[in-house]
């Protein structure tokens, strides 16, 4: 990329179509003419080819970085592969905290702290961008993962109006509201997902719903939900509440 080449929009289009092997017969003719007439033609082709290949490599590389962050650097409460020892350490820490809270007294305060000890932001969809065909949903997911919950809601709430029963949307709109501490609204949406037996988000929605009840001090509701959840941390939390 050393020579200052002027590449017109038409030339760009032709070169890209040639690289993609999608030249029409008319385009093929123009391409061949330019190849003969323009002494810089091969340099232009080389430049466009290199630029788009490098750009794609860069974007793949950036995506790998994100995957690494999500899978190996950050926490991911949804994955079943979360090591048992991490849960054991988390449980031990939680136990120590609970013991400490005992000295501090105050159930409300204790509920709040239990909520904080067990609450983790939903990591979003690891395989986002292929879960739905909706560009708006994907944009929202990018915002959600970056902590831009208001922006995510701006995308998702419009979609939810069109698809009010979509469990994926209901769940993530609820999650965004939860992050923004809009508990009543989040609770309402999570209930809808938790009541949907076929939803893949049923268990996660129930878990967060239980945490909201815990935070509000509505212990019977929280215990009822937790007792129906299979995930180990739900049973741990239930035990702590009962203690």
């Amino acid at each position: 990329m050393s020579k200052d080449l002027h590449i017109t929009p038409l030339e760009y289009e032709l070169i890209e179509a040639w690289l993609d092997e999608s030249l029409s017969s008319e385009q093929e003719k123009v391409f061949q003419d330019l190849k003969k007439e323009d002494s810089d033609w091969s340099l232009k082709v080389k430049e466009v080819k290199a630029l788009r290949e490098d750009l794609e490599s860069l974007l793949v590389k950036n995506e790998l970085e994100k995957i690494h962050e999500e899978a190996f650097a950050g926490t991911n409460p949804r994955t079943a592969t979360f090591s048992r020892w991490i849960w054991a350490v988390a449980a031990s820490v939680a136990l120590i905290l609970v013991a400490w809270w005992g000295f501090q007294g105050g159930f409300q305060d204790s509920n709040q702290k239990l909520f904080e000890a067990y609450y983790e932001t939903d990591p979003g969809l690891i395989t986002a961008m292929s879960g739905t065909d909706s560009y708006e949903f994907d944009r929202g997911m990018v915002d959600f993962k970056e902590g831009k919950y208001q922006e995510a809601l701006a995308q998702w709430e419009l979609l939810l109006k069109e698809n009010p029963a979509d469990d994926t949307l209901l769940y993530f709109v609820a999650m965004a509201h939860l992050e923004m501490e809009n508990y009543p609204l989040s609770q309402e949406l999570l209930k809808q997902v938790a009541d949907e037996d076929s939803s893949e988000f049923k268990e996660d929605a129930s878990w967060y719903l239980a945490l909201i009840y815990l935070k509000k001090g509505e212990m019977e509701e929280a215990k009822l939900i937790l007792s129906n959840l299979a995930k180990p941390e739900a049973q741990e939390l239930l035990q702590k509440i009962q203690e």
Binding site: M1, S2, D4, I7, P9, Y12, E13, E47, V48, L51, R52, D54, L55, E56, S57, L58, L59, V60, K61, N62, E63, L64, E65, I67, H68, A71, F72, L125, I126, T127, A128, M129, S130, G131, Y135, T168, E200
Partner: protein, 185 residues
């Protein structure tokens, strides 16, 4: 809902997933193979940061080989094996070139060093391109990402941004030209 595992994909679906940079395929492959590569590198005088760098370089190479049809994985296991092998070779190259530099001698391993230099050039190019890409406006970044990485068609892209297909085509050209001008001022 998408699944993380790619083990159920047919060969055709796997190759298409790689060619179209499908997040599901990329992520599953990464999550399956990286721990094995990390373990191998740590057992062979490396550390976790080196494992990450080597693995990501190897991923780009393996990804490219499939896209160009130089490697045709029969299934996801073959792809995982290939990615592990490329990572392993890269680590061995690195160890050899490091030793080569210390010994300051020319010989049989000069080819590996030449490869490493080529990769260094790619690294340099990508770093320069990244800096240029960051200077583009948000819309240009988004547009180029959707077109060149997510393989979204110009029509769909136009629809997403609320443009006509012609405007989408012109904007793509303008963004690529801006990128080119930043690199070659």
């Amino acid at each position: 809902m998408p699944k993380d595992s790619i083990n159920q994909l047919s060969q055709e679906e796997l190759i298409r997933g790689i060619k179209e940079n499908e997040r599901r395929v990329m992520s599953s492959l990464y999550i399956d193979v990286f721990p094995k590569v990390k373990s191998y590198i740590i057992q062979n005088n490396g550390d976790e940061d080196q494992a990450k760098d080597i693995f990501q370089e190897a991923f780009l190479v393996a990804w490219q080989k499939v896209k160009e049809g130089e490697f045709l994985p029969q299934n996801s296991t073959a792809m995982q094996g290939f990615l592990f092998q490329v990572s392993k070779n890269k680590w061995l190259d690195w160890l050899r070139s490091s030793r080569f530099k210390k010994e300051s001698s020319l010989g049989a391993i000069s080819i590996e060093v030449a490869d490493a230099e080529e990769e260094f050039l790619l690294d340099e190019r990508l770093s320069m391109l990244d800096r240029a890409f960051q200077q583009l406006g948000e819309s240009c970044q988004e547009l180029l990402k959707l077109f060149y990485f997510k393989k979204m068609s110009l029509d769909k892209l136009a629809q997403s941004f609320g443009w006509t297909p012609k405007t989408a085509k012109n904007n793509k050209y303008r963004c690529m030209e801006s990128l080119r001008k930043i690199i070659n001022p």
